[in-house]
């Protein structure tokens, strides 16, 4: 079963959020989102209200609302479930954002791997147009027009990074831009653009429908609201779970049936590895931040295999424009393979760690900056497993 516990989004009354938003003025909508304290659900955790406010204040002939449905982070699939079960709440959230910042055009950037979702999404859009929830004079509000189109991605993980996504929308290679300037000022076609995750738009709808106070009461002071988690790996019940932010990892494992885990990787390939003795740590922006992926590893798993899999992923997905990421990931992968064969000297291991640290600070975009995370945290927490390895070439 894909959906594993009670989902707040299922209980949000359709279009109540949009109706509530249209009763407020623009500043009022942004104020409500700011007051909720919501941070972006894609992983980076930028405060949504601040982003919307910047885009509202920015000058531009046109403004764009982009929904980032390029869910490529390994171990993440909650956006697929949201787009399948509650696409209306996502489009509603985009419409609310359009109203708040004065944008008339929305784009859903759907990853190529999810092409089979497109038909259902187009149907949802058509229905919303019929019901005057999209188009001109939405809900009878004169002068407020907004519509959404779907743009298909073509298979590139890096396009989940917002500036790479914009490059892709403009018909270019998905190579990240330098920031600043940020997309809220200079985004698609040089115009102010909001790029938010699928889940962020869905929660924005919920915040308008139920109020910022309701949202703020859930979670912790710095990490407000519920979060959807994609749990996979060595658990009895993999799937999508909803928890308040600030929930200990142990509790997530208990719900999914993975208490005997040796380690979890939170945040996908770009996330960090948390070993069993740290399962009291919480899923939150102030502790273990995540876009939603929780990958669980049972007692028999070799964590170097995990690091190797992740680095193969990054070598393949690095866009290649900056050196630390393009070459660094290849070197880390070679290093992990050397470690696996039991051929890595202490000095080499030290150099690999230094390389990882360099990649964190010197890479141009989030992909390169976060690509050594899993490797470094695995080396840190499972160090004892590594030097004791017997070279595989030696016969027993």
């Amino acid at each position: 079963m894909t959906i594993c516990n009670d989902m707040t989004l299922a209980a949000i009354e359709p279009d109540a959020g949009l109706a509530a938003a249209l009763k407020l003025d623009r500043a009022g909508v942004i104020g409500e989102i700011r007051r909720s304290g919501m941070k972006g659900r894609g992983g980076a955790g930028f405060p949504t209200g601040v982003k919307w406010n910047l885009a509202a204040a920015a000058q531009g002939d046109r403004k764009f609302i982009v929904c980032n449905a390029d869910e490529g982070e390994p171990g993440t699939f909650k956006d697929r479930v949201i787009l399948t079960e509650w696409p209306g709440r996502v489009f509603e959230g985009m419409t609310i954002a359009g109203y708040a910042v004065g944008a008339t055009e929305g784009i859903l950037y759907l990853r190529g791997e999810y092409a089979y979702l497109r038909h259902g999404l187009e149907q949802c859009l058509a229905k919303r147009r019929e019901e005057h929830l999209l188009g001109n004079d939405i809900c009878g509000k004169t002068g407020f027009g907004f519509d959404v189109r779907i743009h298909m991605g073509a298979g590139a993980y890096v396009c989940g990074e917002e500036t790479a996504l914009i490059e892709s929308l403009e018909g270019r290679r998905g190579e990240a831009r330098n920031r600043p300037p940020f997309p809220v000022n200079t985004g698609l076609g040089g115009m102010p653009t909001i790029v938010n995750n699928v889940e962020t738009f869905a929660w924005a709808t919920a915040i308008l429908a139920r109020g910022a106070d309701w949202f703020k009461a859930i979670g912790t002071e710095q990490s407000t609201g519920p979060k959807m988690l994609s749990v996979s790996g060595d658990v009895e019940r993999p799937g999508v779970y909803e928890f308040p932010l600030g929930t200990p990892i142990r509790e997530v494992l208990r719900a999914a049936g993975g208490e005997d885990a040796k380690a979890v990787v939170v945040g996908g390939a770009s996330g960090q590895c948390v070993p069993a003795n740290r399962f009291a740590r919480t899923v939150s922006y102030e502790d273990v931040a995540t876009g939603g992926a929780v990958i669980v590893f049972g007692p028999g798993r070799n964590m170097l295999d995990v690091a190797e899999n992740f680095l193969e992923f990054f070598v393949d997905e690095s866009c290649g424009q900056c050196t630390p990421c393009r070459i660094g990931n290849v070197k880390l992968l070679e290093g992990v393979r050397r470690l696996k064969r039991g051929e890595c000297s202490t000095q080499q291991l030290r150099e690999l760690r230094a390389l990882g640290e360099t990649m964190r600070v010197a890479s141009k975009c989030g992909l390169g900056q976060s690509s050594p995370n899993a490797f470094l945290s695995i080396i840190e927490h499972f160090r004892r497993e590594i030097p004791s390895r017997v070279p595989v070439t030696v016969e027993a």
């Binding site: 390994p74 290679r173 590893f297 992923f313």
Partner: protein, 171 residues
Amino acid sequence: MLSTQQEQRVAEIDAIIERHGRSRSALIPILQDVQRRHDAIGDFAMQAIADRLGIHPVEVYGVVTFYAFLNEDCRGRFVIRLCRTISCDLAGRDAVANQLRNDLGIEFGGTTADGRFTLEWANCIGMCDQGPALLVNDQVFTHVTPEKVHDILSACTRAFGLHGAQEVQVR
């Protein structure tokens, strides 16, 4: 009047471009449609598209080679992409990969001699809770086992006999 195959191709590309508009931002949707029509985006198509959008063909080439789902060379009627990322790996990806190799008689990255199947790796396709997972063109298959590989391939073969790339029905 008879027209050459190239003229026909250009006419098809023109029709696709008219549908999307002659702007750079339409490039990827145009390329996706050209690929759907012609199975690949060859040099000739890249040049024609570049001419019409007023950009250098290298710009088009750069885009085609950047994205995993855009191809210069012809692929099989059914492109099978097996997810190789961590959760599918834990769930038994290697056994499925091996069965695909054995049943198709090709390696990953290859196309069968009859042009029916291309076998590729995919990075995470977002089916981590239901792995091992694979895509056949746009269609997703989950909880794939080595036994199920045979069913998927024979369903493709049956569909091929009818109308080429239509929806694949697995019993």
